[in-house]
Symmetry: C2
């Protein structure tokens, strides 16, 4: 009943006394919808996504061919335990608490490098949501060497955004994975990580399900072997399900890891004045010229000198001593200097071949094609776009109705994006292409119609998402243009296929017509010409051949 009165007349002093720091954990706890934890279905999906992203990033950095198992176990009518296990390098003991129970902590934010994780929020936010809804802790198993493994349980102290360690012990855990095919042995690895979080949640089927996410994950990561199962509670009144539901396994389409990617320095044309000033202050170089060369990409000694001359600054001056006014001149000089575009070897495309392999593996269809665009640049950040298409013969694939709008699978740095398609640049690009000219029905302001799945992928050292939950790509014109180019190329190829198929269909119709009437014709001619049976058969064969030649010509 205690509604504390704070509504008396305030003064500057009384208001000042109430000012307080807000921890980032408190902030995201109250605003957890910003991170994708706004409803029980989405929460489970988001937790799986964050854990799988981390596993894949770690495996690739350690150059390990990834094998991952995702297990969802129902513990109460509205509760599930989400567990994700990998064969990655493991996590050293000292880092475990912060990695899993501190928001804004990670290795990927401060470098420009293509990776799935960016912010250092995801997995800790999943743990925080579990803690909020069930009071439980995040359980981690980590094995970095053959010698031993560690079992740790952590929670976030949301007041301080610091981890609290609830358990910490040696363990004999070995990452073990189900056998891929019957009769095969299960795989065991000398290193890996497993994370388990219990949370209020729901596991559903359909377009926004964990299953769909994993399926798309397998398509965009053909080097991944992935196992999945959900273990629901027995339903009251129904017979008990088998004690151990079977695992679904997505096999690898390739045994090769994506090529290793480089971290790059920022490109001078993508750096804003305030960031430039901060970088000069932080530089380890002794001279301005050295700072320009070493802290940025595409600045050769000659170019560094050119910039200094244009800004009327001594190349030997200490970068930390450049004043604000001078920094403004320097900033302008950089804008006025012609520079090479950023390096693009920092991007690892999936590649046309692998996109095709992924689509063939998971989407039964008749026509497949894929396009990998050359790298381009937005706001100083290199990026590239890839597109793919699986087109089924109408009626062939029950998942793809000919009179529905096409499905679009969206990916960013190989991570499937399931939610918020309406707010995504990829959807805008899909709608902006004139699909009618390639033979697909296309209602205005909507997706085209047809029995097809489109695949769209953006790879970048910094993917511009519209929100922290990383579900949609921002509408940069450079990005939209590249997507449109990729889709138009896909469109042209589809157009060729569709018109060939149409010609084929007409030919088939003609052929069936011929097949139907030639026997009658031959019978007539037999009478007229007085042929015997052998003569009639011979005539019939030659007629068929002749008409088929005429049709092909």
């Amino acid at each position: 009943m205690a509604a504390k009165r704070t509504s008396e007349k305030e003064t500057a002093e009384s208001m000042g006394r109430r000012q307080r720091e807000i921890s980032i954990s408190e902030f995201f706890l109250k605003n957890r919808h910003l991170l994708g934890f706004d409803n029980p279905r989405k929460a489970v999906m988001t937790a799986v996504k964050e854990a799988v992203d981390n596993s894949l990033d770690a495996c690739e950095e350690a150059r390990i061919l990834p094998e991952i198992a995702v297990e969802l176990v129902q513990t109460a009518p509205d509760r599930w335990r989400v567990s994700v296990r990998d064969n990655g390098p493991g996590i050293v003991r000292a880092q475990i608490p912060k990695v899993f129970a501190k928001l804004l902590y990670g290795s990927k934010f401060h470098r420009l490098r293509m990776s799935r994780g960016q912010q250092g929020i995801g997995i800790s936010a999943a743990g925080m949501y579990g803690q909020l809804t069930t009071g439980s802790a995040t359980r981690i198993l980590s094995r970095t060497t053959a010698a031993s493994a560690r079992r740790v349980e952590v929670q976030i102290d949301t007041r301080s955004n610091k981890p609290a360690v609830l358990a910490d012990a040696e363990s004999d855990w070995r990452p073990e994975f189900p056998a891929a095919t019957e009769g095969a042995e299960a795989a065991t690895y000398p290193h890996g990580t497993e994370v388990s979080i219990e949370m209020t949640g729901q596991v559903v089927r359909g377009r926004l399900s964990v299953e769909e996410y994993l399926k798309q994950c397998a398509i965009a990561n053909p080097h991944l072997r992935l196992h999945y199962r959900a273990v629901p509670l027995p339903k009251p009144g129904l017979p008990e399900p088998p004690a151990e539901p079977a695992w679904t396994t997505y096999e690898r389409a390739t045994g090769e890891l994506p090529p290793p990617v480089e971290a790059i320095q920022p490109h001078p044309h993508g750096v804003e004045l305030g960031v430039l000033m901060q970088m000069l202050k932080d530089s380890t170089s002794r001279t301005l010229k050295g700072a320009l060369q070493e802290d940025f990409s595409r600045v050769s000694p000659r170019v560094a000198e050119e910039i200094c001359a244009r800004a009327n600054l001594d190349p030997k001056t200490s970068p930390a001593r450049v004043a604000q006014r001078e920094a403004e001149t320097l900033y302008q000089a950089i804008q006025d200097t012609k520079l090479m575009r950023p390096p693009t070897d920092c991007l690892a495309p999936i590649g046309e071949e692998q996109i095709l392999a992924g689509l063939r593996k998971e989407v039964p269809a008749d026509f497949y094609t894929a396009v990998s665009r050359p790298p381009s640049v937005y706001r100083g950040n290199p990026f590239l776009v890839e597109a793919g298409l699986a087109y089924a013969k109408p009626g062939d694939n029950p998942d793809l109705a000919a009179d529905d709008t096409v499905r679009v699978m969206r990916f960013a740095n190989r991570v499937p994006l399931l939610y918020m398609s309406g707010a995504c640049a990829m959807t805008e690009a899909m709608e902006s292409v004139n699909w009618k000219s390639y033979g697909l029905p296309h209602p205005k302001g909507a997706l085209p119609v047809g029995p097809a799945v489109f695949f769209l992928h953006i790879a970048s050292v910094w993917v511009p998402f519209t929100s922290e939950s990383k579900e949609a790509i921002a509408h940069y014109p450079e990005i939209l243009r590249e997507m449109t180019f990729a889709l138009q190329e896909i469109g042209r190829r589809l157009g060729v296929y569709l018109s060939r198929r149409q010609r084929q269909a007409e030919a088939d119709r003609k052929r069936s017509y011929i097949t139907k009437y030639i026997p009658h014709l031959a019978l007539g001619l037999q009478e007229i010409l007085g042929l015997d049976a052998a003569g009639k058969t011979d005539l019939e064969t030659r007629l068929v051949r002749m008409l088929e030649r005429a049709k092909d010509g």
Copy 2:
């Protein structure tokens, strides 16, 4: 040229060494589109909005009738200095650096109270954007007593999210405001705050302009006197503009402040398990019963005992010593206990009268109406919805075309929301009402059509925004329902007006018909009956009267 190689094969150790904390400032600097600083136009608007929100909150808490001046001065082709001055209580010196140069710092996050600010991010983010794009500092003038004022300049150290003070001195500043009407004296106050931020920006006109924001602000805050001017640089080649462009002033519609609002304790049914556990841990009460009574709203001693009994816990136990398993039982017991709904005296509606006054002042129209709904609850948070309408006769108001969709002004805790209307629950509510039944054309899945402005306001102790930039309301069913009810009531009243207007129009048509033919009829009758001129006039008058009676009947 130095693209540093980090792509060698990594180990758990080498990856661990790269893990780092990310400051919240760095995070939002890189993701500043999340805060509304994604383009130069929106940046100026957002900065004005954050500063005005703070001024209004401070004035109301100190029970001062607010007077605010907003001045935009162009300093370079792509740069503006945004200054906002108020007659509020001022800010004590010790708090100035943190209030203006530290993200996640404030007095409003940790309490449940209706206010414009919530997060403790806005004004510091505006300063950070200014610093990023121009390298300049946020300048603050603050006068808390008649004795003296303080001039402070701050920047954010984004690495640590801590303020750096660049200047700090006594000042003789007195908050001064332009004269409201010609000949009147300018107002000077013994206290107030002024903040100035220089930033890369653009000042535009139209639906997403500072002007539009301020106009709507004046409508939703009829107790506010507001001055505005923009001072652009002279255009090359054009004659110099007058040295001092005039101020636009929005006068008060009322001299009364909104009623003071209470901060409330959270309602038990809106608290999740993890938060419950944290609250028990933090409680200053010695017993569980005391903690339930004091830290929550609507828990009487009797109800507290009922909850304890249901959870099988001793009411005298120390709240800090409730274990996780016990907390779960307690949580369930709370859910199972019937409680009064949260108190709603913590909400200050604008009120039907003030909404009407605001609309009449700024939107010329023919028909006005307003509805203030009783308070309701979502997720344990009290909220209420208000709606208003200004409907112009077609052609009367050049801003309101009869064949355009209606305009919707959206407000949250008296703050206008200009962006992201497509993602807002208010837009969904507007589209879901069957406007056709009230006489407005209404294309499916769109806003209705007509020369009208709708006003929608949500007041709550915690407004559920869809993003940090606070531009759209989340789609809670309880909120949508209240909005729909308010709009349906508006619709019924509009329907009555429209059908009365239609009857009126028909009557007018009939009357003009009568007026046209009666003289002819009288002339004919004069001949037939052989009347003199006076007799004819008398007959004509009586005919008009008779026919009008017939029409009205």
